[in-house]
C-alpha cells in the first residue's frame, strides 16, 4: 500500500471516531454563538463611539467653560480590550486600521503581559512583532480575532523594567510590507499581579483564564534541569483540574508533548520548548499520571513544569 492509500484509509477509519456525534441543536448553538460574537463586537464599538461622543460634547462647550480645541476624531475600535481580567490591569493599548503599522511605547514593568492581534485578513498575510527592533516573531493573520490570539508574551518578573520599550507590529505579504484594506492591528499591555511562584523560568500567575472561566493556582511541580521528561501521578481530586504547562529555555529547537495516562492528548499535539500551554483538563475523582516530555534534543538547561489549577471561587 502506498502512502496516499494508507493516508486515505486512515482518514476514513478515523471518521468513525466522530460518526455518532449528535447534530440536533448544533445549528441553534451556532446561531447563539454567532449572536454572542456579534454582541461582543457591537459592545466594543458602542463603548468606543460613546467615548468619541463624550469628547465631542466636551469640545462643543455644552458642559460649560470655554470650548477646548477640537480633538482629532478617533477611529472606532473594533478589538475588545478589557480594562482588567484575572488580576491583570491594562497599562495601555492601541489599534490601527487598514494595515497601518502599530507602534506602542511603554514603560514595561517587570511582570507584564503583551497581547497582539492581526484581524480581518487571511492567513497568507503575516503579522510581525518586534520589541525595540529585537525578538521578532511572526504569525499568520486571521479573519475574526480576539486580543492575544495571534501572539502574546510576558515580560517576566526576573527581567529588568524596560523604559520606553517600543512594540512594533506590521503586516507582510510574500515578504513585502503591505497595508491591506480592512486589516486591523491591535495590541495591549497588561500589568500582571505578583506571581505565586516561578516555574521553569516562568512566572506562575494566581489566576489564568480558560474558556471564559478563571482558574486559581493549586500546586505545581518542576523537573530537574536537562531531564527529558517530567512524570507525575496526581491522586484523585474532588474537582476538575486545569493544567498549565510551562517550559524552558526559549529558543531551543525542540518541542514538548503532553501525555495523560500514557496517551498524547494535547491539541496541538506539541508546542515549542520555551512556550507554555493552558487548557488541558483532568477529570475529577480520578487519579491521573501526567507526563510532559521533550521531543528532540534536550538542552542541558531544559526545565519542564506542570501547574494544577482549580476553578476560582465564584466561577
Amino acid at each position: 500500500m502506498n502512502v496516499e492509500e494508507m493516508l486515505r484509509q486512515t482518514m476514513v477509519d478515523r471518521a468513525d471516531d466522530v460518526a455518532g456525534s449528535p447534530t440536533i441543536g448544533r445549528a441553534g448553538r451556532a446561531r447563539e454563538q454567532a449572536r454572542s460574537m456579534r454582541r461582543r463586537q457591537y459592545a466594543a464599538t458602542a463603548v468606543a463611539a460613546l467615548a468619541v461622543t463624550a469628547a465631542g460634547i466636551g469640545a462643543s462647550g455644552l458642559l460649560g467653560g470655554n470650548p477646548p480645541p477640537e480633538p482629532a476624531p478617533e477611529p472606532t475600535r473594533v478589538i475588545d480590550v478589557a480594562p482588567s481580567f484575572a488580576g491583570r490591569t491594562l497599562i495601555t493599548s492601541g489599534e490601527t486600521h487598514d494595515g497601518e503599522p502599530l507602534f506602542l511605547t511603554v514603560d514595561a514593568p517587570s511582570g507584564s503581559e503583551w497581547m497582539v492581534t492581526c484581524a480581518g485578513l487571511g492567513p497568507e498575510y503575516v503579522v510581525h512583532r518586534a520589541v525595540d527592533d529585537q525578538f521578532e516573531e511572526t504569525a499568520p493573520c486571521g479573519p475574526l480575532e480576539v486580543l492575544g490570539e495571534s501572539m502574546s508574551f510576558r515580560w517576566s518578573s526576573a527581567e529588568p523594567v524596560g523604559n520606553d520599550v517600543e512594540l512594533a507590529v506590521w503586516i507582510t505579504l510574500g515578504g513585502e510590507a503591505v497595508q491591506p484594506e480592512g486589516a486591523i492591528l491591535a495590541a495591549a499591555v497588561y500589568e500582571m499581579p505578583p506571581a505565586v511562584t516561578m516555574l521553569a523560568g516562568t512566572d506562575v500567575a494566581p489566576l489564568e483564564v480558560s474558556l471564559g472561566q478563571e482558574w486559581a493556582y493549586l500546586d505545581s511541580v518542576e523537573s530537574e534541569p536537562g531531564e527529558r521528561r517530567l512524570t507525575v501521578t496526581f491522586p484523585a481530586f474532588d474537582e476538575e483540574v486545569l493544567l498549565e504547562l510551562v517550559t524552558d529555555p526559549v529558543g531551543a529547537s525542540a518541542d514538548v508533548e503532553l501525555l495523560v495516562d500514557g496517551v498524547a492528548t494535547a491539541s496541538p499535539r506539541t508546542f515549542p520548548l520555551g512556550g507554555s500551554s493552558t487548557g488541558d483538563r483532568l477529570n475529577a475523582l480520578e487519579a491521573h499520571t501526567v507526563t510532559l516530555r521533550i521531543v528532540g534534543d534536550v538542552p542541558p538547561d531544559a526545565r519542564l513544569g506542570i501547574v494544577r489549577r482549580r476553578l476560582a471561587d465564584g466561577q
Binding site: 502512502v3 486512515t10 447534530t23 499568520p140 502574546s152 495516562d261 492528548t265
Partner: protein, 171 residues
C-alpha cells in the same frame, strides 16, 4: 404590515436553510475538523465556531460548504499560532487509553506530526477529495502552493520513522 411579515418570513427561511445545511453537513464537517485537530472535543469546538461564523455571513454566502471549510481551516490556523500562553478553546477532557482507537496509530500519529498547513492540504485533498484548484480556493493560496504543500506533506509521511520502521510506506 406586509413588510414586517415578509422580513420575518425571510428570516425564518434563512434559519430553516441554515438548519438544513447543518443537519446535512455537520457530520462530514466534524470529521474534517477531527482530522485537522486530532481531538474530538477540539474538533467540536472548531466546528461550532466555524458554523457560528458561517451564520454571521449566511445571507451573503453563495457556497456555504466552501465558505465553512475556509473558515474552519483559517480558524484552525489561528489556534496553531498561539505559541505562547495558548488557551485551548476546548472543554473536552482527555480521552482514556481504553477509548483510544487502535487502527493504524502510526499513520495517525505521523499525520499529527505534520505542520498544520500541510496537514490541512492533505485532509482537503485526500479526505474531502477536493481538487487542487478547490483546495487552493479554500486556503486562499495558489495551486502551486497546494501542490508543493501536498508533496512535502506526503514526503514527510514517507520518511516518518513510525512508518519507515515498519516498512509500510512504499512510495
Amino acid at each position: 404590515m406586509v413588510r414586517p411579515t415578509a422580513i420575518h418570513a425571510g428570516a425564518t427561511d434563512r434559519v430553516a436553510e441554515f438548519e438544513d445545511f447543518v443537519a446535512s453537513r455537520a457530520t462530514r464537517l466534524l470529521t474534517t475538523a477531527y482530522l485537522l485537530t486530532h481531538d474530538h472535543g477540539r474538533a467540536e469546538d472548531l466546528l461550532q465556531t466555524s458554523l457560528a461564523k458561517l451564520w454571521l455571513a449566511w445571507s451573503r454566502v453563495d457556497e456555504p460548504d466552501a465558505y465553512v471549510r475556509k473558515v474552519m481551516v483559517t480558524t484552525y490556523a489561528s489556534w496553531w499560532r498561539r505559541k505562547w500562553r495558548g488557551e485551548k478553546p476546548s472543554d473536552a477532557v482527555p480521552e482514556t487509553s481504553a477509548s483510544q482507537p487502535t487502527r493504524d496509530p502510526d499513520m495517525w500519529s505521523a499525520l499529527a506530526r505534520l505542520p498544520r498547513g500541510q496537514r490541512a492540504v492533505l485532509v482537503l485533498r485526500f479526505y474531502e477529495d477536493l481538487t487542487e484548484a478547490e483546495t487552493a480556493r479554500v486556503l486562499d493560496c495558489s495551486v502551486g502552493t497546494v501542490k508543493s504543500q501536498s508533496a512535502k506533506g506526503l514526503a514527510k509521511l514517507r520518511i516518518d520513522a513510525a512508518l519507515v520502521d515498519e516498512g509500510r510506506a512504499t512510495r
